[in-house]
Amino acid sequence: MSITASSTLSRRDVLHGVAASAVVIVVGRLAQTEVLAQSAASALAINAYVAIAPDGRVTLQCAHSEMGQGIYTTFAAIIADELEADWSKCDVVFSPAAPPYRHPVYNWQFTGNAESIRSYHVLIRKMGAAAREMLIAATADRLRVPPAELIAREGMVRHAASGRALGFGEIAAAAAARPVPAEPRVKPESEWRIVGGGRSLPRRDIPAKVEGSAVFGIDIKVPGMVHAAVASAPMIGGRPASIDEASVRGMNGVIRVLPLDSAVAVVAEHYWQARLALERLNVTWQAGLGGSFDDAAIDAMYRNAFARDSGWAEAEKQRDALAMLAGSSRVIEAEYRSPWLSHAPMEPMNATVSVTEAGVTVWAPTQGMQMTQIVLARALQIPSEKITIHRTYLGGGFGRRLLADFVLQAALCSKAVGRPVKLIWAREEDIKQDWFRPAFLDKVRATLGADGLPAAIHHRLVAPSILAPVSPVPINPGTVDGLAVEGLVEHPYRIPHRRVDYHMLQVPIPTMVLRTTGHGPNNFALESFIDELARAAGRDPYQYRRLLLSDDAAALAVLDRAAMLASWGKAAPGRFQGLAFADAFGSYLCQVVELSIVDGAIKLHKVTSVCDPGRVLDRVNAAAVIEGGVVWGLSAALYSEITFDRGQVRATNFDGYRVVTLPDTPELVTDFLENRSAIGGLGEVGPVCVPAALCNALFAATGRRLRRLPLAAERVFTVYGKIFS
């Protein structure tokens, strides 16, 4: 057994230093009219987000990728509302990867971190408002009336006094020529007509998704296209040592065998021909830098980090928790562990790329538009501007598709064979070549004051960086990874003495963000621990949290609403409840799990979720995202775990990497409040409290405290899951 911890795995080299420096940009994009490749040919760009054709049809640019969160509809609806467009005459397209569509603060175009609305809301409302003001100004000229007498509504600009009206299409050309307003005035919320206020729109992508006609990355067809299949090194970080091309010579359809950095690809006329050749291809592999590690060796690295004084960074300090704990006669202490996880979206990684002399064209299900451009530009030595990215629907993403490793493989294949190549990872490759959510090991100590509430809390976390591969700036060992400590720092509980220490572990395994980022594992630790403190103080867990949140009316409202909807404390005989609370991604969340124990197994009855994201822009979709998040959280709590043996990932398909299915899904009750002043995220929020709420309910039912996920690793199963135990 040997371990070499290294942060310079070969796959990381590709990304090293690629990101632009983070720049804070003032919203100076109103005058930009990026050429809109996908817009109707006749549509005139009023600005980078709005184009209008002479027939009145409006084309709205969606800067983000649609991976199930409904952004394709809601993002466009926000612009349409400010524009006063007729929603039935609006078309939505995925924007190019281009400067006007970058995150307004990070100056970096990606879809993730539940940021698509909360970070773009101000920008895109201004874009819609600016276009509306330009349409009104153009109409005022045309009708020779003051702009103040005009009202834009449902795709028309109307002059009430004279009864005259012009359609957007009639004035689009004149509007596009108008000066861009420096400070467009967005509407007051009371005048929202398409989003918010409990409204909901049918999602634009759903009909095609039930017909089977929606185009995901894997469905792209390009003239002259051939197919590639990939086998990566069995051991993480390994590389092909020798490839015996003669072993597949003469096989039907085979065009080329190609060594990649950590893998080998076969390009063939058809996909299955590439797969057959890949199975027969003789490859010898050299081991990775990490050598032949297993779970025990990785666990020992976590334990060793706790035993060392070096490598720690202070993530939060309020007053002096260490002195308080040192002076206390009764310290309550616990350790929590969250497992390694794989993203495993239903659509495996794939991309179609055409590399020609003139430039590179990519068709990909990607969350990392700008990352893809930069990675390809560096690898192929061409300017970013020569890389055109067409985004498809994403069959799930969960963070995995922020990276461009799979797109690069397709590009290298295309360059080698001189034809467009669609490259598809088998599921086994999708898991083997994943950048995993690492295990989190949390040790937490607290001491209670005379009132029974925690007077001091000290949290120590060991976890590899999850931000480093997707960060525009370097994340160095010995510093704090802001995403890894999310949920432990700045939580709204009233605890006077607080300290959070973080050790960025170096492991021979690629690690990255995954839906819930740090909030998932950290909430499991913190909210399980708060429950333990409540029990130690002899208090009801809900009432205990009420005291801890007594300074925060919006947080209390979420807690109270969840307790009310779940009938907290009034469960039927034999049923038990647990709850947890989070302040995550700018939203508050409280979830209550209700379960019973049947023949020693868990029977899940109900999960109640109450979320306050400040504003709910689409009620039905927001509920769907939270509901789906609950299921994601249940998979993480009950079943999912990546384990390692001999430097390899053990289970590489859904028969071993288990997730929740329909029979395990309980009744889901979801509600929203809108008290927070700033708009928050939703996409990553839904799963956050589920593991702690579940374990807290299990404690209520059995008196047994489970501090390690998934529960399957502790031989705790659901009634349905027991079948597989």
Partner: protein
């Protein structure tokens, strides 16, 4: 390579492929029907569910040589008179999120309600074993019950 003939969505289909080619890749890659999805390749997730002689099968693990002479129905051919009641219910209940797995769920549900026109919740739980990573199961169950109602 070998020739195989079968009926696909009511029309005659013929392909010349390696006999070990899964029906999934014949549909997607040779016949251009991409509504049937690749998820796992080992008949675990059900994203590739189609009907062979009216039975739901997982086409990623169903080789083309077993399809000779059979009737194959895919999501594209589920209904020849507008959307199937399940597809209508799926839209009504706004079921899909990323949507990738949904054709497989709809095909599995269609086979279920052909055999059991009024399935109970327990029937649905026993027979719908596909995987959805977005976690749309609760709405899938409601949509099946509504379509079968």
């Amino acid at each position: 390579m070998a020739r195989f003939n079968f009926t696909l969505n009511g029309s005659r289909a013929e392909v010349d492929v390696d006999p070990s080619t899964p029906l999934l890749w014949v549909l997607r890659d040779h016949l251009g029907l991409t509504g049937t999805k690749f998820g796992c390749g080992v008949a675990q997730c059900g994203a590739c569910t189609v009907h062979v002689n009216d039975e739901a099968v997982r086409s990623c693990a169903y080789t083309i040589d077993a399809v000779e002479g059979a009737r194959v129905t895919t999501i594209e051919g589920l209904s020849n008179s507008g959307p199937h009641p399940l597809q209508k219910a799926w839209i009504e209940h706004q079921v899909p999120q990323c949507g990738y797995c949904q054709p497989g769920f709809i095909m599995a549900a269609a086979a279920l309600i052909r055999q059991q026109p009024r399935p109970s919740e327990a029937d649905i739980e026993a027979s719908i074993t596909n995987i959805c990573r977005c976690g749309t199961y609760a709405r899938i169950k409601r949509a099946i019950l509504a379509a079968a109602g």
